[in-house]
């Protein structure tokens, strides 16, 4: 340490005159007993330091640049070399001992201070204001997206079409001529456009089949979700506007077995693989053979889900597809009904009421 003692008056001396008193004393006059006493006093003061600031003060008085031990060190130069070596060693030991004690004490005090700080920072995590509303997709959108995703996974694309249709797309191309008794069963909502009963809100999503077949060469693998309309007065189980999804496959050699397998595969993916399906003969003018399809319920009963069948050759012809080359199947069912079933809704009108108390549940 080449630094020479400063002759400037350290202002701190004014506050601590006792140190001033010791200042003039050299190591030569300080015996081992006195050094021990100094260490002991420092140790006692360190132990007594109640916080980190007090500890720092003690360290500064003893170990600091102008502390007692450092001051003593500066006087070593006045000693004979052999004395200097002994005294220096003793002084170093004393310094490291005090430093060690101070370090240990600092750890304890720091830990205590942190503990106190953490305790003071305590928060009641249940004392939280309600978060902003996260925004909710409509239940029907959620169901529709999920259905689309399952069918996309099975190799289908998603087709869409208009909600107001002509009699050609809604009925005639689908093999339901104007006099056909089945027309009455569709409970069609007609639109005031053109000749009476020539324009209507589509009563099923099947017109999308026709539009797709008119515009796309087979093979065709599509699902067509969308809104459909019937003259059903709104009540707990009916809405005049509701959502259906319809599937259409046109490819070579497609038959009823493919239809049954596709439905089984879809139902397994959507409802779970423990759910099985069955087809029962039915009638639709646009499919032949036609069937209703049922899914199994946990109670062992069957629940009717929708209608399906092998596409009528006449429908293919109407859409410019050669029934000798191509065969296909179609199926359809209600999207809203799936949502109703899934959440056991007791009133389907909630789907169009737009009550936030309903919308925010899902």
């Amino acid at each position: 340490m080449a630094q020479r003692p400063s002759t400037d008056l350290d202002p701190e001396y004014l506050h601590f005159p006792s140190r001033k008193r010791r200042e003039g004393r050299g190591i030569g006059q300080t015996g081992p007993m006195e050094l021990d006493a100094l260490v002991e006093r420092a140790t006692t003061e360190i132990a007594a330091a109640s916080d980190l600031d007090a500890l720092a003060e003690v360290e500064r008085t003893v170990l600091g640049k102008k502390g007692e031990l450092v001051s003593l060190k500066k006087t070593l130069g006045q000693l004979e070399p052999d004395e200097r070596k002994v005294a220096g060693q003793a002084l170093n030991e004393a310094m490291s001992k005090v430093a060690g004690v101070a370090g240990a004490r600092r750890d304890v005090l720091a830990a205590a201070a942190e503990a106190e700080q953490l305790a003071a920072e305590r928060l009641d995590l249940t004392e939280v204001m309600d978060a902003v509303n996260r925004g909710h997709l409509h239940l029907v959108t959620q169901a529709r997206d999920r259905l689309e995703d399952v069918f996309v996974g099975m190799g289908f694309t998603v087709a869409e079409g208009p909600e107001v249709e002509s009699a050609w797309y809604n009925f005639e191309a689908l093999n339901i001529p104007e006099w056909h008794p089945a027309r009455g069963s569709f409970d069609t909502i007609f639109v005031d456009l053109g000749e009476p009963e020539t324009t209507m809100l589509r009563s099923h999503t099947s017109p999308v089949q026709v539009r797709t077949m008119e515009n796309q060469e087979p093979p065709i693998y599509i699902v067509a979700p969308g809104r459909t309309f019937r003259t059903d007065t709104a009540d707990a189980t009916h809405l005049p506007a509701f959502n259906q999804i319809e599937g259409l496959v046109i490819d070579k050699g497609i038959g009823l077995g493919d239809l049954a397998g596709t439905i089984e595969s879809f139902v397994g993916a959507f409802f779970g693989h423990e759910v099985t399906t069955r087809l029962r003969p039915s009638y639709f003018p646009f499919t032949e053979p036609s069937a209703e399809f049922d899914i199994s319920t946990p109670s062992g009963d069957w629940l009717e889900l929708g209608g399906c069948g092998v596409v009528q050759p006449k429908v293919l012809e109407n859409c410019g597809i050669d029934p000798e080359v191509w065969q296909g199947f179609a199926f359809g069912f209600g999207i809203d009904r799936l949502a109703v079933m899934r959440y056991q809704l007791d009133d389907i009108r909630e789907l169009v009421n737009n009550d936030v108390r309903f919308l925010r549940q899902f």
Binding site: T141, G155, T157, V158, T233, D258, Q312
Partner: protein, 798 residues
């Protein structure tokens, strides 16, 4: 169609076994069992009783005091709420201790102080019909000597199984007991046959009594007629009434009941004329002429048009609406003694059109519309009718008038076994298919690998199909008899990958962004009330519905605004003052012609956001978020005072790549008031169809600079009529490539800022990709920006 097991067994005695399993077999054949009931059971304790006395209840007007004899000859007092009984009537009576079919226990009750010792029953209460208006009166149908006997004994009822079947429109044959029995017998592999009717004939033959001419063979494929004399129009036998009631028909009189019975049993509708009301027994089958009228059996005058099928008398006056309803003038009445019985085959489309136009559906026309049997079933039904009437004392005239018109061609058609297997996904042999078809009445010859098939006349649905359609029809019949459940399930593998279109993906993105903005998705119905569009300042020329369920839902929307305001008002009235809604829905704009020359509404998918309780800037913020999410090119909001329904000083058009694509801002206060909405509503409506089909989604990578950036805030005092977006554009242009970030961080009006102006504070970030910017570069860019804003926007640095 309802059928009784005992009635089915008259055609196929082998139909037997567990009623539930039989029901499952019917369902698997496509004759879905909607309900199965065991009849004639659960009526223990219900006896035939006689009304001895009726008197008013002293303390109640809605009930009366009835004294009945329930078998012991002594009067028993009951209180009853029905008033249709007379003294002497025979009624079903539930004695004390009886458990009714619905589970109700009959005990001694006090009704307004008087004891009631049992209950007089309606038909509905004891499962003998649908009539619940009044007590069932059995005075004419039960024997008084049986008073006190169980009702089942008194009415000759037996335990039976009743199936209510859903019969599809392509199964005309299954709208009859015999037709259902044929299918079921085939599925069970038991014999099926028609019992032979025994009819004795006497008197003057039909041919010299009546004349039938078919003037329009396209309307009437066959017209058969017989004459019955000495007919007594009275009560039909109890067993017949019981079956009619079980199948849901009300017994009327012997002739009408027989007519209905034969129709239900064999599927052949028929009509009975009072022969003495037909001059010379002449009937002419022809189409009606425009303007002709006919008073039908229900005493309504029907206006006919050319094309309706009719039957006229010798004076060429219409006496019947062919296949739909008879005329009043030739109706069978209690005075009728001689009748002419008609059984015909009518062209299904002709009948359908008339039924639909006059809204006159009936059991008979339903069968004609689906296509009845024009073959031997008519003769069979004739015989059956005559047999039943003969049992009731009528004399049957010899012979039958039988006139033919155009009937479908039933010559054999070919169906390929390979094609049928392909349609079904099966591997059946020709012989296997042949056996299954033969069992349900088809005539089949196996010719090499194909089938040559004669379709029975009771399957008009199959007869009327040809070539590919015919094969599909045959495949359905083969599949039905084979069992759909036995067909192996396979999954076809298309070669294309499944995917959503770009539009569909973008639509999902839009929804996600809006949900992320804290909005709830709504889906109101697309119908509006007349006036809703006018209330939001839009033209009232929207497309309306021809047959709306409700006048308040009769107009197709051209804007999503009315629906959203209704939803907000609804929620505000249920203590949600500030809902944040969005909707993606179809609007129906002025019609356009499609490729087929049809006029259909121009449908667009609109997106709207409605933020109750927020001001216009909240909606503009949504525009910015969407513009960012979809990478919309050059999005501007142009203030406009003339947007329908919008706040004149707080709204504008959303312009994307130079084209107006929607509106944003606030809904006009007057509009909000007219929909009972409180507070402000920030509103955004965009034409999603145009936007997503237009340019968007183009993004290019910009390398993230590794050099330090320099931030700077600049506040300009700018006149109020200068849009902030214009100032922003000026800064952006003047800042050039070095300006990498620019945002408006504060606006201020008040002391220190000139009246008519406001301060706009922008935060700018400068950065280069290839170097650290020098102070000089930043300073000169800053000065260029300040100068540009001063020059172009009259803005002064604050």
């Amino acid at each position: 169609m309802k059928v009784l097991l005992s009635w089915l067994q008259e055609f196929a005695p082998g139909i037997d076994g567990d009623p539930i399993e039989l029901g499952e077999t019917l369902s698997a054949l496509g004759l879905a069992v909607e309900e199965m009931t065991i009849t004639g059971q659960g009526l223990d304790g219900i006896v035939l009783a006689k009304v001895l006395d009726l008197s008013p209840h002293p303390d109640a007007d809605k009930i009366q005091v009835v004294q009945v004899d329930s078998g012991d000859g002594q009067p028993l007092q009951v209180c009853c709420g029905a008033f249709n009984m007379r003294v002497g009537d025979l009624i079903p009576f539930a004695t004390v201790g009886t458990t009714m079919p619905n589970g109700m226990e009959i005990g001694v009750r006090k009704m307004r102080g008087l004891a009631s010792n049992g209950m007089c029953c309606s038909a509905e209460e004891i499962g003998l019909g649908d009539d619940s208006n009044g007590i069932m009166l059995l005075t004419d149908s039960a024997d008084e000597s049986l008073v006190g006997q169980p009702i089942t004994t008194a009415l000759g009822m037996e335990t039976d199984v009743l199936y209510d079947l859903e019969v599809n429109a392509n199964r005309p044959d299954a709208l009859s007991v015999a037709g259902v029995a044929r299918d079921l017998a085939a599925a069970l592999g038991v014999p099926f046959s028609f019992p032979k009717a025994h009819v004795e004939r006497s008197g003057e033959p039909v041919e010299t009594t009546a004349t039938v001419t078919v003037h329009d063979p396209s309307l009437c494929g066959r017209f058969a007629a017989r004459v019955l004399r000495n007919v007594t129009v009275g009560e039909s036998p109890r067993w017949m009434q019981n079956r009619l009631i079980a199948l849901g028909m009300r017994p009327i009189n012997s002739v009408v009941d027989t007519s209905n019975y034969v129709m239900l049993e064999l599927g052949q509708p028929n009509h009975v004329f009072d022969l003495d009301t037909l001059p010379d027994g002449v009937l002419n089958v022809r189409r009606a002429r425009d303007g002709e009228t006919l008073i039908t059996l229900d005493e309504a005058e029907r206006q006919l048009i050319a094309g309706d099928g009719g039957i006229s008398n010798s004076a060429d006056e219409l006496v019947s609406l062919a296949g739909v309803m008879g005329g009043l003038s030739t109706e069978v009445t209690e005075q009728t003694a001689n009748v002419l019985l008609e059984m015909a085959w009518w062209d299904p489309p002709s009948i359908s059109r008339t039924v639909k136009r006059l809204n006159l559906p009936s059991e008979a026309s339903t069968r004609f519309r689906r296509g009845c049997d024009w073959g031997e079933n008519i003769d069979r039904a004739m015989d059956r009718f005559c047999e039943l009437m003969a049992d009731m004392g009528a004399t049957i005239a010899p012979g039958q008038i039988d006139v033919s018109g155009d009937v479908p061609d039933v010559s054999a058609q070919r169906a390929r076994v390979r094609k049928i297997n392909s349609i079904l996904g099966t591997d059946m042999t020709a012989q296997d298919m042949s056996n299954r078809l033969t069992a349900i009445g088809f005539g089949v010859t196996v010719v090499e690998d194909d089938l040559s098939i004669s379709v029975p006349t009771f399957r008009w649905d199959v007869v009327s199909s040809h070539s590919a359609e015919f094969e599909a029809n045959i495949a359905e019949e083969v599949g039905r008899m084979y069992g759909f459940e036995r067909i192996e399930k396979t999954v076809p593998k298309g070669e294309q990958a499944g995917h959503l279109s770009q539009y569909q993906q973008d639509r999902r993105l839009v929804r996600q962004v809006l949900v992320g903005s804290g909005c709830d998705e709504t889906q109101p119905m697309p119908f509006l009330a007349p006036g809703d569009l006018a209330k939001v300042g839009l033209a009232e020329d929207a497309i309306s519905l021809a047959n709306p369920l409700d006048a308040s839902e009769s107009v197709l929307r051209t804007s999503l605004l009315p629906g959203q305001l209704k939803s907000i008002a609804y929620n505000q009235s249920h203590r949600t003052p500030s809902p944040r809604f969005f909707e993606l829905g179809t609007v129906f704009l002025a019609p356009k012609e499609n490729d087929r020359g049809e006029m259909l509404p121009d449908e667009h998918e609109y997106l709207c956001v409605a933020l109750a309780g927020e001001d216009a800037t909240a909606a503009v913020a949504v525009v910015n978020v969407l513009a960012n999410a979809l990478a919309l090119p050059n999005v501007q909001v142009r203030n406009s005072a003339s947007l329908p329904g919008m706040h004149p000083t707080r709204s504008g058009e959303v312009v994307i790549a130079g084209r107006a694509r929607g509106v944003v801002g606030e809904v006009a206060p007057s509009v909000l008031r007219s929909f009972d909405v409180d507070g402000r509503v920030a509103w955004l409506q965009l034409d999603l169809t145009e936007i997503l089909n237009g340019p968007h989604g183009k993004r290019s990578y910009r390398r993230v600079s590794k050099f330090p950036s320099s931030d700077m805030d600049l506040a300009f005092v700018v006149p109020d009529d200068t849009g902030a977006d214009r100032v922003r554009n000026t800064i952006s242009k003047a800042g050039g490539d070095l300006l990498v970030d620019l945002s408006l961080v504060d606006t201020y009006r008040g002391p220190g800022v000139v009246e008519g102006s406001r301060s706009l504070a922008f935060r700018l970030r400068f950065q280069a990709n290839d170097r650290t910017l020098t102070d000089e570069e930043i300073t000169s860019t800053r000065e260029a920006i300040i100068a540009a804003v001063a020059k172009q926007n009259s803005g002064t640095l604050r």
